[in-house]
C-alpha cells in the first residue's frame, strides 16, 4: 500500500460496525471504514491531522506513539472534530501488523452510549441519585423527630414549672388563714401537686422522652411523700425496676402519695409504726403496695373515702385495680399491666 493512500484495500474494515481509522504516528489518516466515513464525512477529505483530531498535536502524537508499542489493543480517549463540534471518544488502539515500512496505528472508536463505561456511568449515577434522595429524606425525618422531642421536653418542662407555680399560689392563698381545715386542705393539695411534679420532673430528666424507669422514680416519689407526711423514718421500701409510660408514672406518683399519706396519717399507733412500700415487676405484671402495721381499716371507712376514691380513679386510668386488706394493719395493693400490653390490644 502506497503511503498516503486512502484506499480500503489494506485491512478490509468495512464490515466492522464501529468507526475504524488507520493512522500514521503523526495523525494522518491512511485508511478508514464505512462507519468512520459516515461519522466524519468531509473531515476526512482534507488530509491534515488538525482537520480531524481535536486534541493538541503533542497529546495525540504521544497517544499514537504509545499505542504503536504493541499489537495488543489498549484503551484510551481522543477528541475528534465532528459535524456537531468536537467530541471525545473512548477507543481501542493497537499497532497494525501491516505497517511497514511506516508504522501504522489502528483506532477503533467506541460509540458513546454503547461503550460499557458510559452505560455503567449512567447506572451508577441513577443509583447514586436514588441513594442520595433516600439519605436526604431520612435525614429530614430524623430532624423532624428530633424537633418533636425537643418540643415535648420543652412542654414537660413547662408543665413542671406550672405545677410549682400552682403550689406557690396555694401557699399564698392559704397564708393568713390559720384554721386547721384550711391548713389540712393545703397540705393535701401540696402533697398531690408534689407527686405530680415529681412525675413530670422524672419524665423531663429521662433520656427517653416518653418513659421513666420505675425504681429511681418511685424512690424519689416515696421519699418526698414520706417526708411531707412526717414519716420519713417509718417508711422503708423495696422497689424493682420497670419501664413506665408517662401516663403510668403520673398516676402511680399520685397513688403512692395518697397511700403513703394515709398510712402515715391513719396507720400509726401513737405515732409509732412501720410502713413498707413495695413495687414488684413480674414480667410486665406490676404490683405496687403500701403496708402498715396500724389499727387496720374498716369497710365503712373505705366507703366514705376521698383520697382512696382518687386512687380508684387513677387505677382506672392505668387499667389497674385496688385491693385493701385491713385485717392485720392496712395493706393497699394496686395491680396493673405494663402499658405496652394495652397498646397491643388496641
Amino acid at each position: 500500500m502506497s503511503e498516503g493512500s486512502k484506499s480500503d484495500a489494506g485491512h478490509g474494515l468495512d464490515f466492522l460496525p464501529d468507526p475504524v481509522l488507520v493512522m500514521t504516528l503523526d495523525g494522518r489518516v491512511i485508511e478508514t471504514n464505512a462507519a468512520a466515513k459516515a461519522l466524519f464525512g468531509a473531515k476526512l477529505a482534507g488530509g491534515s491531522p488538525a482537520d480531524l483530531l481535536a486534541d493538541e498535536p503533542e497529546d495525540y502524537r504521544r497517544f499514537l506513539r504509545n499505542a504503536s508499542s504493541t499489537t495488543a489493543p489498549r484503551p484510551g480517549k481522543l477528541a475528534f472534530h465532528t459535524d456537531d463540534g468536537p467530541r471525545r471518544f473512548m477507543l481501542q488502539a493497537a499497532r497494525s501488523k501491516q505497517g511497514s515500512p511506516n508504522v501504522q496505528v489502528i483506532l477503533r472508536l467506541l460509540q458513546q452510549g454503547t461503550d460499557r463505561f458510559a452505560m455503567l456511568d449512567r447506572r451508577v449515577k441513577a443509583l447514586d441519585a436514588d441513594l442520595h434522595d433516600k439519605l436526604h429524606k431520612n435525614a429530614a425525618m430524623q430532624e423532624a423527630l428530633r424537633q418533636k422531642q425537643v418540643l415535648l421536653r420543652e412542654l414537660q418542662h413547662r408543665v413542671k414549672n406550672n405545677i410549682q407555680l400552682i403550689m406557690s399560689l396555694t401557699k399564698i392563698s392559704a397564708s393568713g388563714h390559720d384554721s386547721p381545715e384550711v391548713c389540712a386542705v393545703v397540705e393535701t393539695l401540696r402533697g398531690r401537686l408534689q407527686a405530680m411534679a415529681a412525675a413530670q420532673e422524672a419524665l423531663y430528666q429521662a433520656d427517653e422522652v416518653e418513659t421513666v424507669m420505675a425504681q429511681a422514680f418511685l424512690e424519689g416519689v416515696v421519699r418526698t411523700a414520706a417526708r411531707a407526711s412526717g414519716a420519713a423514718h417509718e417508711v422503708s421500701f423495696s422497689l424493682e425496676d420497670a419501664e413506665l409510660s408517662s401516663n403510668e408514672a403520673h398516676c402511680l406518683a399520685l397513688i403512692a402519695n395518697e397511700l403513703i399519706t394515709n398510712a402515715a396519717k391513719h396507720g400509726m399507733r401513737n405515732a409509732q409504726g412501720q410502713i413498707l412500700v413495695t413495687f414488684a415487676n413480674d414480667g410486665g405484671e406490676y404490683r405496687f403496695q403500701v403496708a402498715d402495721d396500724g389499727p387496720g381499716i374498716s369497710d365503712k371507712a373505705v366507703s366514705r373515702s376521698s383520697g382512696l376514691a382518687l386512687v380508684r380513679g387513677l387505677c382506672r386510668q392505668i387499667g389497674g385495680r385496688l385491693d385493701i386488706n385491713g385485717d392485720k394493719g392496712t395493706v393497699c395493693t394496686v395491680r396493673f399491666r405494663a402499658d405496652s400490653h394495652d397498646v397491643a390490644k388496641e
Binding site: 504509545n66 504503536s68 504493541t70 499489537t71 489498549r74 484503551p75 508504522v103 463505561f117
Partner: protein
C-alpha cells in the same frame, strides 16, 4: 471481666505493602468484573507499558548505557522481579527467545484469580525488551494467577515465529 486487647495491639495483619497489594487485587477485580477480562487487561497494559518505559530508563541510566544489550535485557528482567520479591530465573535461552520461570509472584497470593495483573509482567518485559532489541513477543504460557504452580514466560525476540493465544507483540516506540 475479660481482659480487652488494646486496638494498637490487636493481631490484625496489615502493613503498607499488604495494603497496596490488596488495593491492586480489588482494583483489578473490579475492572475484570465491570469491563471484562480483555478490557481490564488493556487498562493494566497501559500502566504496564508506562512502567516498563520508566524502569528501562532507570536501568539505562544506572548502567550508564544508551541501550541495553540482549544479555543485559535478560538480566534486567530477572533483576527487576527480584527487587520486588518475585523469584524469576532463566529456564532456557535460545538464539531467538528467552524462557523465564517464576516461583513467586510479587503480588503474592493476592494474584490468584487475577490474570489481568499478568499484563503488568507482559508489558513491562515487552516494553523493556522491545525498546532495546526492537521487537518482543511475550507469551505467558503458565501463570500463578490462573492457577499454575509457577509461571512460564517466553520472550521471543524475532517476529517470524507463530503467535500463541496469550502472546502479545511489542515494538520499539519510534521517536
Amino acid at each position: 471481666m475479660k481482659d480487652s486487647v488494646r486496638v494498637q495491639d490487636a493481631p490484625v495483619e496489615l502493613e503498607r505493602d499488604l495494603f497496596l497489594r490488596v488495593l491492586l487485587r480489588e482494583l483489578s477485580g473490579t475492572l475484570e468484573d465491570v469491563v471484562g477480562l480483555a478490557e481490564a487487561s488493556g487498562y493494566i497494559s497501559v500502566v504496564g507499558g508506562a512502567m516498563g518505559e520508566r524502569f528501562n530508563a532507570e536501568y539505562r541510566r544506572a548502567l550508564s548505557v544508551d541501550i541495553l544489550t540482549r544479555d543485559q535485557v535478560r538480566d534486567v528482567l530477572v533483576d527487576l522481579k527480584r527487587r520486588i520479591q518475585g523469584d524469576f530465573y532463566v529456564m532456557e535461552e535460545h538464539e531467538d527467545r528467552v524462557v523465564l520461570g517464576n516461583r513467586a509472584c510479587p503480588f503474592g497470593k493476592l494474584v490468584e484469580g487475577r490474570p489481568s495483573l499478568c499484563m503488568m509482567t507482559s508489558n513491562v518485559f515487552g516494553s523493556i525488551a522491545a525498546q532495546n532489541l526492537g521487537y518482543a513477543r511475550v507469551d505467558i504460557q503458565e501463570s500463578i494467577a490462573s492457577g499454575h504452580a509457577g509461571c512460564r514466560i517466553v520472550v521471543n525476540l524475532t517476529p517470524n515465529a507463530g503467535t500463541g493465544p496469550n502472546a502479545r507483540e511489542y515494538f520499539r516506540i519510534e521517536e
